[in-house]
Symmetry: C2
Subunit: 146 residues, 2 copies
DNA sequence: ATCAAATATCTTGACTATCAAACAACAATA
DNA sequence: TATTGTTGTTTGATAGTCAAGATATTTGAT
């Protein structure tokens, strides 16, 4: 197993802590924005995933959210009661349901998406256009390995 | 209010969705790692904050975690029962308690910190040393505005 | 020195999120 | 057809969360 040079080790250590801080700050921003919307963070996240992939099976939705189908059943029940999502039977698999956003759900989804966009603009206001492009390119490489 | 050029707008939109994806992937990685430790994500996060700032007041800990002191009282009760943290009276303010990690809590904290370090190393393995330094520098600028 | 206001923590009640396990309906395969 | 696997639901237990109220202590203004 090859050893990293000491300097690389220190950079990685610093980066690790930066990532933790970055994550925490995004997280608390997200929470404070969501709390102003009448939905819980988990509910908003559910709307987000459905919004990016309409007519999604319960099973796949649960996987993408990282919860069990049991948890999801209850969550979707509540969102359906609020009129934000709707279940439709799967045409070819009668065990399955497809979940999608209602118009009301789509409105919330798009508003939240705009919040993300505004947040991104705000935090990158200290960067030049080139630096933003650079950051995005590096992020692409990182995402490939995750 | 100045309008951004169309191309900048598109870059920001892309970056916004990249950040969401980045956040989600870190989140699910973190959750899967934590679940293997017998602690909940919230409990691990509490240990992390205490670990970085031993002898912290309940009030300040609650603020850093983004929860009310009522929530924290219950959380610290449970961590204390597990032998991971300990409350000590504040020397100069008899209303206050200082919370710190026990040896057992420190062990868990350090192990988790190493997980973060390994994760960082893994995802940045596709980057050159210079790119890692570049990414870290850009992150520093972003963190300043958050 | 006294007293009102502010602060730090804890308690309680209500609600949500979560999982695991057991179950029912249906699909896929031997 | 009979068996095995998959999809979604239900239920019981535990944890996380907040708001509101209670208690003890400190601070600040008279």
């Amino acid at each position: 197993m090859p050893e990293l040079p000491q300097s690389d080790n220190m950079v990685l250590n610093a980066l690790s802590h930066q990532l933790v801080e970055f994550f925490d700050k995004i997280n608390s921003w997200e929470n404070s924005v969501v709390r102003g919307s009448g939905l819980s963070p988990a509910q908003m996240h559910t709307l987000e995933v459905i919004g990016h992939r309409q007519d999604i099976r319960m099973k796949e939705l649960a996987e993408r959210l990282g919860v069990t189908t049991g948890t999801l059943t209850v969550a979707v029940d509540k969102l359906e009661k609020k009129g934000l999502v709707i279940r439709k039977p799967h045409l070819h698999d009668r065990r399955s349901w497809l979940v999608s956003l209602t118009e009301k759900g789509k409105a919330i989804f798009h508003r939240h998406d705009r919040f993300h966009r505004d947040f991104t603009e705000e935090i990158s206001a200290g960067l030049t256009t080139e630096e933003v492009a650079q950051f995005s390119a590096l992020l692409t490489k990182l995402l490939h390995r995750m």
